[in-house]
Structure formats: structure tokens, C-alpha cells
Symmetry: D2
Subunit: 365 residues, 4 copies
């Protein structure tokens, strides 16, 4: 309950700072008997690694994962899985600027306000590198879900003013887009837009959408731990996220009941819905349709153009955040959103196991 853990039965605890010894995560509660290799995790980490295209920081990090515990002869043992990624880029930087000034849009000021001081090297604990632990754990959650026939997939829906309409998605091109967009035309326009931002020493934001397919109905806890409430918690816990919506989201607020309600019908003898305005949940539990939600990502706060701020001597000063920064974090954040969605889903699946005497009798008959 100290803030660095997420989940109740499938519980992750992350640790590590941007320029400390490394970043890691302990995954506790992973069921025994899941086949797991380092490459399963590495594949996820590679999706968030810096330096993969023109719109990403040049920081050199291999981000290689080591499994320290919890896996034996290629299978999870039921005991905690400890994962470690060493930081390589630990060379002594010049931190005098960031040490003395509160960068606008960053957590420098709030860390000092809370704790009295902070590890100022590269953002310390508030650095985007913290998400390495989430992604490493998300890889395991995602793998577990695949074993149950559940697929989680996130992608970039919008960058700046360019939003792909839902009926134009083409997931076959997803890997061809350096921005993780399921539409090459929009992807190219967005790239152009980003180049302009970079020329202006400015940055951009965007929207990530995520779908969870194959989830059985009834997953989620009715009152406070609704599936959508936990997804919102999970997604807003990612540094740059400023909004969350499920299904029609804010559009639903402008709609009418007759339009927004999804009619139930039968398909192949199964109950299903004619539409999916709800985004796959009813009363906080999965309704058998695909769960679909969106996260609003703010523009990267690190920009090299001049900004006004205050320094630690309580003087008003100007700051230009030096170094090469991501003009946008959306593409690298896609796998982070996907990881948080997978972690939330696994946790609620495990919690649902004790929902009924019928379930108990299937295990303890």
C-alpha cells in the first residue's frame, strides 16, 4: 500500500530511478506452470526501447532483462518473479540546470514538496524509465492471457490533430508505422506534423486506444473495483496520461439512452450485443464484447524552447531543457498502456476465481 505496487492477486512492485543502478519489478502471485522465457519479456521491452526511430530519444540503453527468481526449468513456480534491467547510461552528466530549477510540466517541484529533496538525475523515479518494470511485468500478464485465449492490443489512435476514425483502422500495417498507427496515411501526416514540432523546438501529444478481446463476461468487481475503474487507475498511473474513456466515453455524455444503450441479441445461441457503445463493460463487469478504452497523452514536457520557472533559491528564471528529447512519447507509451491493461485484466480474472461456490467446487471437489 506504499504506492509502488499494483494489483491484489497478481501484484507487481516496481523500483528504480533513471540514473541509478537499474530498474526492476517483482511480480508476485503469478500462477505456477506458465511457460516463460527471457525472450518473452525482452520482446515487450524492445517495443518501448529508445532510439528506434527519428521521434525518439537517442539515449543508448540495451534494456536487457535478467530473470532473477520465480522461474525454474522454463516455467513459473508460483513464487515471486524478480526482473532486473541494469541502467547503462549512468555516466556523469551535468545536472546543475535540472538540480536547481523546477522544469515546467515535470515532477521536480512536487517531489521536493513531498519529500524535501529529490534524486534530480534525469528525473529520478519520475522518469519514463520507471515504466520498464511495468512493461516487463505486462509481458508476463499478456502471455498468461494468451494461454486463456484473451488478446490485449494497444495502438496510436491520434497524434496532435490527426485522429484515425475507427472504421478506417488497418491493423495489418501497424508494424510498418513508426508511430504505431493502424493507418499509413494518417501515420505519414502525423510524422510530418512531428517534424514541424521538432523544428519549432516543441513537442506533441496524442491518444492511445486499447482493445481486450476474448474476455469472458462477468470479470470485474461490482462496486469499487469495477473493470473500467481499475483500467482507469492503471492508465492514469502512467506519467503523461491526462484522460481516460471507455466505449463512447465523453461522447456518451452528449448522447441519449435510446442511442447509447446496446441492445442484447442472440448469435449462435450465445448472448451478445448489437452495438458496443458501452466499450465492453456493464456495471463494471465485462459483458462479453471487446473491451475498448482510450488514454489521452500530454505533449512531452521537455522542450528546448525557453520557458519561465523558479529555481531553488526562489528566483524567477528562464530555462531551456537541454539534450535530445522525444518530441512525442505516444508511440513508446503504446506498450505501456497495453501492459497496464494486461496486468489489470489478469488481476481481475484471478479475483473472479472465488466468485461462486460453483468455482470453489471445481477446484476443491
Amino acid at each position: 500500500m506504499a504506492g509502488s505496487s499494483f494489483g491484489t492477486l497478481f501484484q507487481i512492485t516496481t523500483w528504480g530511478e533513471s540514473h541509478g543502478a537499474g530498474i526492476g519489478v517483482v511480480v508476485d502471485g503469478c500462477p505456477a506452470g506458465l511457460a516463460l522465457s527471457p525472450s518473452d519479456i525482452q520482446a515487450f521491452l524492445n517495443r518501448r526501447k529508445p532510439g528506434q526511430n527519428a521521434y525518439s530519444t537517442m539515449r543508448k540503453e540495451a534494456d536487457e532483462v535478467e530473470i532473477l527468481s520465480g522461474v525454474f526449468e522454463g516455467k513459473t513456480t508460483g513464487t515471486p518473479i524478480s526482473l532486473l534491467v541494469r541502467n547503462q547510461d549512468q555516466r556523469s552528466h551535468d545536472y546543475s540546470q535540472i538540480k536547481d530549477c523546477y522544469r515546467p510540466g515535470h515532477a521536480d517541484y512536487t517531489f521536493d514538496a513531498k519529500y524535501g529533496f529529490r534524486d534530480y538525475r534525469g528525473g529520478g523515479r519520475s522518469s519514463g524509465r520507471e515504466t520498464i518494470g511495468r512493461v516487463a511485468a505486462g509481458a508476463i500478464a499478456s502471455l498468461l492471457l494468451k494461454n486463456l485465449g484473451i488478446q490485449v492490443q494497444a495502438y496510436t489512435k491520434a497524434i496532435g490533430p490527426y485522429t484515425i476514425p475507427a472504421d478506417e483502422y488497418d491493423f495489418s500495417v501497424l508494424k510498418s508505422s513508426p508511430l504505431c498507427m493502424p493507418h499509413l496515411g494518417y501515420s505519414q501526416k502525423a510524422e510530418e506534423y512531428l517534424r514541424t514540432c521538432m523544428e519549432n523546438q516543441d513537442s506533441a501529444g496524442g491518444i492511445i486506444e486499447c482493445q481486450i478481446a476474448g474476455l469472458p463476461a462477468g470479470i470485474g468487481e461490482p462496486v469499487f473495483d469495477k473493470l473500467d475503474a481499475l483500467l482507469a487507475h492503471a492508465v492514469l498511473s502512467i506519467g503523461a496520461v491526462k484522460g481516460f474513456e471507455i466505449g463512447d466515453g465523453f461522447e456518451a455524455a452528449r448522447s441519449n439512452g435510446s442511442t447509447n444503450n446496446d441492445a442484447f441479441c442472440l448469435k449462435d445461441g450465445q448472448i451478445t450485443k448489437k452495438t458496443n457503445h458501452s466499450g465492453g463493460t456493464l456495471g463494471g463487469m465485462s459483458d462479453g464484447s471487446t473491451v475498448i478504452f482510450r488514454a489521452a497523452i500530454k505533449p512531452t514536457p521537455s522542450i528546448s524552447s525557453l520557458q519561465q520557472t523558479v529555481n531553488s533559491s526562489m528566483e524567477e528564471v528562464d530555462i531551456s531543457v537541454k539534450g535530445r528529447h522525444d518530441p512525442i512519447i505516444v508511440p513508446r507509451a503504446v506498450v505501456v498502456v497495453e501492459s497496464m491493461a494486461a496486468l489489470t485484466t489478469v488481476d481481475l480474472l484471478l479475483r473472479n476465481m472465488s466468485a461462486s461456490m460453483d468455482h470453489l467446487l471445481r477446484i476443491y471437489r
Copy 2:
């Protein structure tokens, strides 16, 4: 961790069904020595009571609260505060329709999917009456915050297509608007719109906004239990909420860093921000500005016009949800959102107490 509790140090556990014996909440972890009377709680409950205007259900409920424990000689004792509201409207209804059919937009189907059966009387646990426990607890949280100089205030920002621009708010008229809108002109247009919805046997949604003023900087836990993440969790746990945004929210996704970053400056020797695009948080901790967030509320799913659905014999049927329903729940949900915000804020304030050795020494010197 069984889903009916919220908060870690200021923890509430709610219970109760729409047509059971009553609804209640246990508040555990309320600090000792807070002056508290039943009328403090009743005032909050009255704000969500049905039957107060033309846009609210006519169900007759006094919703009178009884304090069963945790208060002695007018002050909280530090032990759990148990609050009880008896259901009065328990007369035998005809539930045959709702018993056999899955109402679109409701949790009937998902409850059955999870548990195998459900208490079908008036929605059972998924009824809006469940929020009585939240509001009763929220009254205590709100009172505690007032003692620390922190004010939480929610209101209706939009109903259907009518959205009040932020620069036109007039909070002096809030109590005059039956829809809890801080602008009489918009309120009247929204009332007109609702009357049309009712004539069409339809319902409407809207947006609730909430402000937390006076919160010191540094409240919130850096990684998973960020202030905004917990507010999102809290707000999405309310039945009809489909979206959450803080500060500029989804608008931030379309903005640029140079615009979206809030410059720091000095005011009366204190650090403050020139703008508040962030909505009062940085890195998941309060930044000293007013916290401001919005919740998207879907249209009431209970409508009397004909809808398609499936019954428990797996037949496709039409349903018209009988009875007099709220054409909109937004005005009554305002105090629910405010309550959840107050509960979240108190919990994080308590958690922040152990943030530093400096704090410890102030208590245990």
C-alpha cells in the same frame, strides 16, 4: 480486497441492495477527535435524495442516516464509524419483467454471468442506491478536509449538448439551479432539453466537474497511486461514469508542450503556476494549484421506449422498462462525485503523513 472497500488508511466498505433491508457503510481509519453529528451526514444525503424536482424519480425515501458506532460525545473516536440508512420502499413490486429479461445498459446480464444469479429487485447491488454509502462517508471526509482548509466542490458542467464554458461559471447561482449548474441560462436550456427527452421517453447524460481547492503540494503517491490515478479509479467506480479527465484532459492530447506546460512563478514569495493546464497535479502529486477534473456520465439506461433484448429462456424479446425513472442522473450524481473526490483526497493526505523523517519527528519527537 473483495471489491466493496475503497481507500487504504481512510477506508470505506459499503453494503446493501436497492430493495433489501437497507444501505450502509463502515468508515474505518477516521482520525479521532473530529466533531461529527448526524446532521453533517444528512445534509450530504439530502443532496442525492430522489424526488426533489421534476427530473428525478418519485421513489419515496427519507434516507435518514443512523450513526451506529465510532462517535462518542459528538466526536469521532478513531474506531470504525458504522452508518445505516433503512430502505423504506420495500413493498412487494412486480419484478417479473426485470427478473426474466436483461435490461440494456444495465448490469443484469453481467451479474448473472459472474455469480450465476442475482438479486433482481430494483437492480439489487447495482442500483444507484448503493451510492448512499459513498455519500454518507463522503460527508465525513469533506468535513475533515474543511478542518484542514481544503474545499471540494462538484457541479454540473454539461447536460446533453449544453456545456458551460469555464469563464462563464457563476457559483453564486449553483443552489438555484435544479440541475446543479453554475449558470442559470445554461441550466434553463438544459431543463428544456430534458423535458423534450422525457416527452420522447428518452434520457440524457452530461458532464460533472469537480474542484479541490486548498490542497498543499506533494499529496499523492508517485507511481501507481498518483492523485489523478486514484481520482480516476474513484470516479469510474460510480456506475454511470464512462470517462475521466484532469486539467485539459483530452484537449492536452492535441496541444503542444510549449502551450501545455504551466510556467512556474512566484506570488507573495510562494511558488505557483501561471496557468493550470495540468489540473493541479504534476507527476501524480498535487502541485499547489486547484485540482480540477471532469467525469462523463452516460444517459440513464432505464427508458420506457421499446428496446430489444434477450430473456432468461434465451429468447429475443422487446422490453419497455416500466415505472417513473430519472431522465438524467447527473444532478443527483454531483454529490457522489464530490464524495468520491473527498474520500480520495483524505486517504492520500493520511498516506502522505509518513512521507518523511521530518514528519515522523513532528509526531514522535
Copy 3:
């Protein structure tokens, strides 16, 4: 996490003071579909009710339970079960003595030290009446276990100097002993001893033993939430308990490995143990043998003979605790220990459901 909850998946939250409106408990996480009637709970409550024999306080309390939620048509619904027992004996007593003085052996002083003041009426929250909530919840846990073929049974092993040797237990006489002892001879000697204590205005303690039979192997979480660790937590959380031991307990500390190790063998093709020095756990998990543990109960601190203490004006004074008190609480505490054991066992059974992919596939295949 605020101290009035126990359990993680089968979670109880108790509330109430000795002379407040009532005592209650919310049980959250009980699986849906368990047949449950008020009489199941009442039967447990009656076992701890005062005034049933010469060695128990004469306080008149019907201790009738009301189920306020979570049960529909005779079955648990999976939503929180709220149970309420109204206090009847609320007439105005003379509390001047207890209000001003710290009774030795009681929590008067520590409550004041923690919270600054206390509800002094009859011990307030620290009264033995608090256990009503535990026993009401324990009845449900015990019923659930019976459905899985698991039996929990507690009884009095010792009172003062009279300890029944394990090989002389006769459980057929348990209900005939007013002291819940499985041996009539010892029971009679213990009654005699208690009468002497009462004549001397003194009180006595004893030892409660509890057995859990039919528990499958592997229940308990390997490291911090071992079955025995949680049983110890559960049992020590009962007011008067000063010690806990499992299996041979403190005797094991004086033993040797060659004696204390239980040899494994086969019986009817099943793995079993030749002896049960371990008390049914190995590495914190059930080993398939009967779990057996003991709790040491201190003598009732309320005695009418003169004691030295300090009053709230910081003066040293003498006190004689007035009124008719239980000369021993052991017999009434038997069902409390049994309840805590049942609650712990159910919680760990539910937690064990997600131990392996094999279990997951049995539910979500």
C-alpha cells in the same frame, strides 16, 4: 488497512462498541450460492452469549442477528453480507469510576494514549462484545468449509492448573461441560477451581485448542502469509490471548530433529504422516494432516478485589472493579477462536484458487 478488517479475499470488517447502538460486521467476498439462514449465524452467537452458566456475566443480551444484505432467497449473492446485533443493555450506567481510572489489565490507558480520549462505557471498542462480529462472520466461514468437507472445532484444553492430556479427550461430552472441556472429570475439577477464584474475588485463565480437519494439502502462502502465521495473527487479535502454538509448539523447541520430524508414509495409496508433531503444516502450508493449534488466554482482568492504579488527574488511587464479571472468559472464547480459525482457513482456500495455471484452466477453459 485501517485495523478493523481481517482477510484479503474473504474479508470481514467489524464495528461497534459495548454500549453503543449495536455491534456488526460486513463480510465481503463470500462466494455466491452458499445456502445461509439467520439461524446458522444465531447458533454460533448463542455459543458466546453471556449468562448461560454460573461462570459467565449476567448481562442480559439476546444478541439477535439481523442479515441486512447479501443474501437473497436463502443464498449468498456474492455481494457484501452486513450483519447487525443491536445492544439492548444500553441503560445509563454509572461510569464515573471507569471514566476517571485506568483499570489494570484493560485497554483504558492505551486507548487514551493513542486517541487522546475514549468511549469509556463498558470498555467501548475494547469490550469483549466486539467479538460478536467475528463470531457472526465465523459462522458463515464455518458453513462454507462444511460444504467443502472441512471441519473446524475448538474446545477448552486447560483451565488454571487443570490441563486435559490429548490422549484423554472425549468429544462426546463436550456439550455437557459448561466449560467446553472434552473430559467431564477435568471439567468438574475446573468448575471447583473457578468457584474458589470467585470466592476470592479473583479470576482465572486457560488454554483453548482448535483442530481443522479435512483441509487439503498446500493451503497457505509460502512466505509471509503462511497458514500458521495467519492463524497466529487471527488468534492473537482476540483481546485476552497471550500465546499461540501449533503442533508441538514450545515443546518442539526442547525436542530433537529425529523426534520432531514427522515421517511420511503411504496409507490407502495416499501420502500421509506417521506422526503430527508439526500440527498439520510444513513450510507454512497445510500438509494434509489435521491442523492443531492452541491459544493461551489470560485471566479476566476485571476483578472486584482492590488494585492499585492511576486516575486521569494523575493521582495514584485504589480501584475495585464493580459489577458481576466473568471469572473466566475461556468457555465463551472457544467459539471466537473457532471463528477466527474458520475465517483464516476460508481466506487461504480462496487465495489458493489462483495458485496454478491448472486451476485457471479449470475455471476459464
Copy 4:
């Protein structure tokens, strides 16, 4: 809640297996600003290191700790502290015996029963090496307590039949006794006893006692999270512990109220107690006296004399556990008990910070 975490506000999560890559712990919730160096932690780890005397295994392990996060410029930052100890003794052993057979007194069988298989190398997760994480975290907790004037000290009270009476303790000799006994005469007799055990290919148990001095009154949560209940939980979570008692413990069960109650009195104007039968707690909260409790430790189950067991082919076989084993683990477990006591105490101190409005106003005035 997945079993490898302990504590709520000062929360530790341990991981690692006996012959995996290493052992570690994440400490989340440590207040910022505590001066901490690796040597503070190493000093604690050295107290449990093997191979320090004739009564301890010869396994060669440096057990050197690396601080991976959460400390900056010599002070804790408030973010999670990750500690890593690499296993050195990972050379390929012959595990055929332990792989196929269930060692009596070990967790081999229960791990298989729970998870379907196990990491059989050296006991895997159930190895005593798991306590490295506890001790590393305990060092931090202990240091924090010292900053508040609270001292935790554990020592060996008994080995086999040799128990030091409380009035003969001589703590000045504690470091001279290889068995951590505060009495050289008893220590020498115990050493002789252990040599006989070793000659007989047998092992011994004992009792560890622990004192917490300087704790203010009121620490502990009144109902389920009593100070003594959490200490019992903490101590029983250590592998070999079979019993726990606080104050007079089981002796209290044979006592009378007039003897067992501790009279209150004044000393230097402060409330104190004339005796300490209670062991420093009343109603589950510290009473200002020294907290004193004991843990019963069973004999090491690994013995080289012949034992009966069952193998994985379900055959009855004899086993002699090979290798050099600790004939007693008590001396090395002393620092583990001390660590668990320190962790429990810190956690409850942090939880107590939000006990009253008075405390809140001291932080947020």
C-alpha cells in the same frame, strides 16, 4: 496480497530461491531523509551469514548487499529501496535425492501439493536463505527506530533443555556467546549439548526472546492489527517457528487476575506499571513498558540419520539428508526475529501517525 509482502505502510516484498541468481527485497514506504549506507545493512546480514562458528553450515556465501535504488547521496528518497544479494554457491549439486524424495520436516511435499512441482535445488523458495531479504529490510527498520529512540534486541533464551532465567541475563556477554545467549554458563552448556546432538547426527531447537524498548504508548491498531497479533504473524512467518508468546504468555493461562494484572503507578510524573506480566501491550497497543515476546524454534529438520519417507513414484523409502547442515538454526535466526520485530514496529508507528486530528494538524496546520 500475494504472500511475499509484509507490512502496509512500510512494506517489504521479498523474492529469491536458494540456488537461483540471488535473493532480494524491495522496501516501499520508507520515509525520506533517513541516512542509510550499505554497511548499515551489511552489518545485519553478517549476523545471519553461515559459516561463522562450529554450529553453522559451511556454505560459502559472502552475502554482500547491493542497494539498487531509493537512496541518493546517502539518504533514503522516499521511493522504493531495492536490495540485492547474489547467490555465489550456484555450482551444480547433485539434487537427485531431494528431487525425488519428500524430506521429513521440510516443505518439499507441500510445495508440490500446492503448485504441482517445485524448484528442488536446496529447498528453493522455502530455504532459510529467503530470510536474507527480511534481514536486509530489518536493518533499515531498525535504523529508523533508533532515530526515534526505540531499540529492538533479540537473543537466544533457550537451547534444547537449557533456558536462561530472566533474572540471570547478562547482556554484556551477548557478543561473546557464539549462540547469542546472554549468559556464558548457559551458553557453554548449550554448546556441549549441541556437540552431542551432532555426534548423534541429530539437531536441536530453542527459544528466541526479543525486547522492544522505548516504544511510546498507543502503538498498534485496536482490533485485528494489534501490536501482539502482528508480531505473532511476523514471527510465525519465519520458517521454523512453532510458537509465540508475549509477556507471561502460556504462563498467564495458569495465573490469576490478581497476579497477572499489572498495577499502574506514577514514576517521575509519568504513568508506568509496577510489573510487566502483559509484556508491554494492553488491548493490542503498546503500554509504554518494554515489549517482550518469545518464539519457539523447532530443531533443524535436515539430519543425516536415517528417516522414513515417500518418493515421487509413491514408494516408501528411507532417506539420509546428505551434506553439512546447521545442527541448530537458533543463533542465526536471532537477527531474523529481531528484523521482523523491527519491521512490525515501524509499520505500526507509521500507521499510528493518522490516529488523531491532533496529529493531522501537526503536519498540515
